[in-house]
Symmetry: D2
Subunit: 433 residues, 4 copies
């Protein structure tokens, strides 16, 4: 056992007026919101990589964190797991997520990697049992190792495709073994640095083929979780193929995969793609593809992925509004794909960053639920489109340009615009947040 978190108490709900840093002010797992416990709504998850594997480096500086578990051996991996589950216990976190490379030492060969992954996931089992922490999703890191520098599924070298495919298989096996609820693919290197050496069509075909194999393998092993793609427009590559919700939806449809795959959406990635988070959520929901979320925030003035803990309730509320409106998460949840600032060196920074993020989400969820339950926003939306419910309007959609033109001319239709009432709706939202 590591004593990294020594002295930090288990976090409990104490209500908004608490003066205790180590308490939830808004997140009470048992509070009922829209007929369901808050814990079951939010389905919080810790991201193993940011919290336990990341060393604090950035493009201009190296490691700042000093953790006893940093190192390349299986013993280090176990110490890291001890610390991780200790944190899950302290936070009462119901879920976690991991990449293979976060949890196991790197081997020389695929076989060695797989064996390492087996050993460490065996080590996880009893700990998950003991703490009650479940696996929200597993994934394979197919972007950090130099072999993936030119892509995994989309690599010009078929051997890399093979190595990636094998690695995905072992990670799906591990996820399945641990009862994971989803399996995620983020194509950090599935993109290009320059069009000059890139064949877009061929790479798209390769990516689709890999994804089909993933879907097939899921069925083969009886994995009942959801396959999720996580869009991101760029970084590390100049252009990443899974740019945003609309792009991925088009890709999935083109290759007949839209029934088998959903999306894991991240606030920071939405921002980098030029969208608001709620846009990506609403778009995915409108296509029936919203699976899970990576909750963080991106600094609005930074042009790279800052992966900060959320701290803005009005924004978070609009995100959960979309989630609740589509009926809430099924297999998905709220994964804190957020990392400490590299100056936040201490164990208590790690704990309290999560505490703060969970409280912000809890406030957002409660505001969203109230907004949805009171129904004023949806009533206004419905009223705006009411004209389309008339028989005449519906008939028009079944007619033709020339028939419509004839009618416009005949009836001398001169439409009169009506107020969109944006500020009034924003005022309405403001009452809840």
């Amino acid at each position: 056992m590591t004593d990294f978190f020594a002295g930090i108490p288990k976090i409990a709900y104490e209500g908004p007026d608490s003066d205790n840093d180590f308490a939830y002010r808004h997140y009470d797992p048992d509070e009922i919101v829209m007929g369901k416990r808050m814990e079951e709504h939010l389905r919080f998850s810790v991201a193993y990589w940011h919290s336990f594997a990341w060393e604090g480096g950035d493009p201009f500086g190296g490691q700042t964190f000093q953790r006893p578990w940093f190192g390349d051996s299986m013993d280090h991996a176990k110490m890291k797991a001890d610390a991780a589950f200790e944190m899950f216990r302290i936070l009462g976190q119901p879920f976690f997520c991991f990449h293979d490379v976060d949890v196991r030492p790197e081997g020389e060969t695929f076989a060695e990697n797989t064996a390492n992954l087996d050993r460490i996931t065996d080590y996880f089992g009893p700990k998950m049992e003991e703490t009650g922490t479940r696996l929200l999703w597993g994934t394979a890191n197919l972007f950090s190792h130099r072999r993936y520098m030119a892509g995994a599924a989309t690599n010009p070298d078929p051997d890399v495709f093979a190595f990636a495919a094998a690695t995905i298989k072992s990670c799906m096996d591990a996820t399945h073994k641990l009862g994971g609820q989803n399996y995620v693919l983020w194509g950090g290197r599935e993109g290009y640095e320059t069009l000059l050496n890139t064949d877009l069509k061929r790479e798209a075909d390769q990516a689709a083929r890999m994804l089909s194999m993933v879907v097939d393998y899921k069925h083969k092993i009886g994995f009942e979780g959801t396959i999720l793609i996580e869009p991101k427009p760029q970084e590390p590559t100049k252009h990443q193929y899974d740019y945003d919700v609309a792009t991925v939806a088009g890709f999935l449809q083109r290759y007949g995969l839209d029934k088998d795959v959903k999306l894991n959406l991240e606030q920071g990635h939405a921002i980098l793609a030029g969208h608001s988070f709620e846009h990506e959520l609403a778009m995915a929901a409108s296509l029936g593809m919203l699976g899970s979320i990576d909750m963080n925030r991106n600094d609005y003035q930074s042009g790279w992925d800052t992966d900060q803990f959320p701290n803005n309730v009005p924004e978070v509320a609009l995100a959960y509004y979309e989630v609740l409106k589509m009926g809430g998460f099924e297999t998905g949840g709220t994964n804190f794909d957020a990392k400490l600032r590299r100056q936040s060196l201490d164990a208590e920074d790690l704990i309290l960053a999560h505490v703060g993020g969970m409280d912000v989400c809890a406030r957002g969820l409660k505001a969203a639920a109230k907004m949805l339950e009171e129904g004023k926003l949806e009533a206004a939306r419905t009223a705006r489109y009411a004209g389309w419910e008339s028989d005449e309007a519906k008939a028009m959609l079944g007619s033709s340009l020339d028939e419509i033109a004839a009618r416009v001319e005949r009836e001398q239709i001169v439409p009169q615009p009506k107020s969109g009432r944006q500020e009034i709706l924003e005022n309405l939202v403001m009452r809840y947040v």
Copy 2:
């Protein structure tokens, strides 16, 4: 006849060493490039709106241009046409493009608009005959009038949909009458200002329905041109549905319209969507959807559509490389969707901006053609993916994750990365531009 361009000579090709401002240095319409006259490759087109209808305003200031044809009457419209065709003659421009509102006075009703459009297009006919200028594409302006403030096809009011549909019909009729080679739809207001009052699913259905009617009407009237959608991510709206190539491709597939509609791509819109122009072109070409281009440039430091004339040969060369690689334009062409800076007040500014832009495009085309003919870039690209031509690699694509994993383990595959040679390829391109 207006004497707006009085004293400006017809522009002729004089070669790169000419000292005459009013000459082409690089654009020789008759020069043969890859077996075709340059004019037939580039298919230049003047945008009626920027050159003749725009008054020089911006969000912080009003009209700067003083043109004798500014005004709301049919006489003004005719004087505008006189000036336009005079410019086409001076430039030897083979094509032009227009929106209905650019060319006709605004009426009180749809019927009046249609009558006005008929009259002015009748006036165009002999002029087109005389100058030899053809119509690259026509389009309906469904974004400037206040009735469209909340969208045309996607408007919450079915009467606006009707008015828009009728207007499209009349514009398709006019385009057909004038022998237009394409019909373009740019959805400047098909998007939203706030999600709070927006139903994404419903609006997408409406947009798709309108587009289907357009395709049907095309067949009904025997219009043989191409239907083109022009993507843009935002501006004027916060979010425009036809965000970029990938988004529009997904939309078209979702509604079964991808065989009937291609894309008109604009450099400035690509930039606003976070892409390079060549990205959008290559992406569209890889999907078989590249129809035509709007040639301009966007200031890289301005977050809005600056629609400037192109002035960077290395960039333009990469654009035409994609066009030539897909076999060149069919019905499409190079439309200068570029406007004078609002301080460029004079007739000669208007002429010389086009002359400069045409020369930049000609240099770009010739560089691209040479690069393609010499084949070094394509040879390097092919070599990079050569591994995928082996039987084993092809077989792998037909296998499964577990079979691949077994092989990786059995053969102890440890892929070795190879250089992507980006700088060397950039050096290669540099030899041509």
Copy 3:
């Protein structure tokens, strides 16, 4: 009297639980915050231009608003003033701001403009008296008319400089006459479209000379208000000279004007310059130059000035925190430089947008005040720098590189980093907003 606002009641404070749209939930002008009435803290002001002169146009569409006072005559100007003061009365707004062109019809000559301005400001006098609305600041619009297309003070044509100087004089006179508390200069065209035709040094000298004349004239007429420059990085021009706080501060120092001029800071302009609003406020405060604020928000996904009403309390709270920390406004205030979305057509949109914005600001102010009064954030900041209070540290600042190097070597100093505690401080802020 116009009946534009007919039926809209005077807005009163009803508290957070009110169900009345036409009520303040958080803004109670008489509530005491840090020893001062809230009204005196916030010093709200309506921007005449957005609320009464703007017609709803954007770069792709024209007028959407239909106001009875739109028109070019003095009668229209008076009707506009009637409506404006009616709105000030309804809102209980203590201040307003205007440009000359917002309030008067445009004349053919400078003399006519001045006469028109005199007449309308005479018309304002009794209305201000009656409603108690005061003038926060006046300013000259030196950017909309085509004569200013290449700059006002920085124009290459000295006649434009002259016309601008004369216009500023008349606007300063008007501001003085009406008891204005500040005079603002926003250099919307003081910048460039292209460096190719621009002489940066010369234009900076011209701008400085104009500003010196403004300062001199202020003293000459005994105007006791503050002269404020409003930074903005770009739009309408590609580059605007008054880019941001740091740039303007450098300019003022270079020309010896930093004692005579302060800054009017706008959220949207900060965002366009790549800064957070609180950055610009903190930077100005650290230089003793924070004068007044233009309160709005910029859509984070739009690359142009969106000038929306504020709706995010956590952000607004951080802004007022900087204001309160420097001791609150002196002559400055909170001007709503925010415009309705162009689809918000109705009188109630105009009223309720202000009501919502005022409530957001009131919540932000109260949160900021509490945060400052409780002192935890400032205590943490002080503690972080405590090491610098030692005599040794102070002495070091007076020494030299070689002395310090000798000491580092002698004492074998190896500094140990301490946590920056960012997330913990963000959690702290979260308790107040």
Copy 4:
């Protein structure tokens, strides 16, 4: 001696038609341009860090390059130096630049670092002699080590300030010893991650104090090179104090350092600050502060520092135009602060990236020189401001607002705008590039 570059010939000028990859097509060091050898104009420099110390990592992946000299010992450092000077020889590069940490192993203490730096710079001496490569500038890396995570000069801990000051001293000593022509300060961590824990005023004072000590120490040791600050707006920090030229100029003036310090400007940093490179150059030149340049390009679609080799002649030509217009470099030069893409693994990538970059710069310089010599652009600029040369205009600058207003009224001045001729000037530039 390493054989890393084995088989790569010394690069010689072969002219534009050469088919040899390993040749200069445009850079002929001895070609006379505006009366000076091209080598003396451009003063090319290799950046030791990117070419020899960077391992190919990015935020999502680790080392891709495998260099025999990677390692932490003095032997590795010497092998690195061997390779570096071998590359300088191959390229015929006249200059190089380095940070302390690029060239020496990291020690446990300041004393050990200094000793290591002494040893390796002793090792450099004969190599510089032999190859004729000189030191363009030296600098201290005060951003990578975790001790600097919260700043160097601006750190809240005075011990870090001390360690940084000592390190600067040792780097200035090393630079002086090697005959360096400039000493550069880039404040990669002089900024903040959050305003919540930051005291802007105090940090600015600390930075200024450190800079004063640098200037004092320069004089003390008789270093005749130029002290240069390198602006950058952000990355790694959220906000970096030396944001851009205007910001740094203001800072230097505020603390009386503007006579002692000039600027080292980088294209990529200009882009991140929302400026064109030529803007930053022109601004610095107008203030007499343009010292040296870091030549690279930033991908226009990436929001972080991409540090790519330049490949766009039209852009580079405008940069050198500003350099030539101010009279050319004095102590400054063209440092390739550009790194290979991390997929460019091979020795020949490293060589050819520089060859390509040098050729692009050579073309840019020659175009700029011709443009300046022919004088058309400057003549147009002068003509535009000609009105200001009249006695009346000059007198106006010495008068006052009320005198000017009286004259405008009396003379009924109504200025008439003239064309800014932007496109015509762009066409002119196009003839040279």
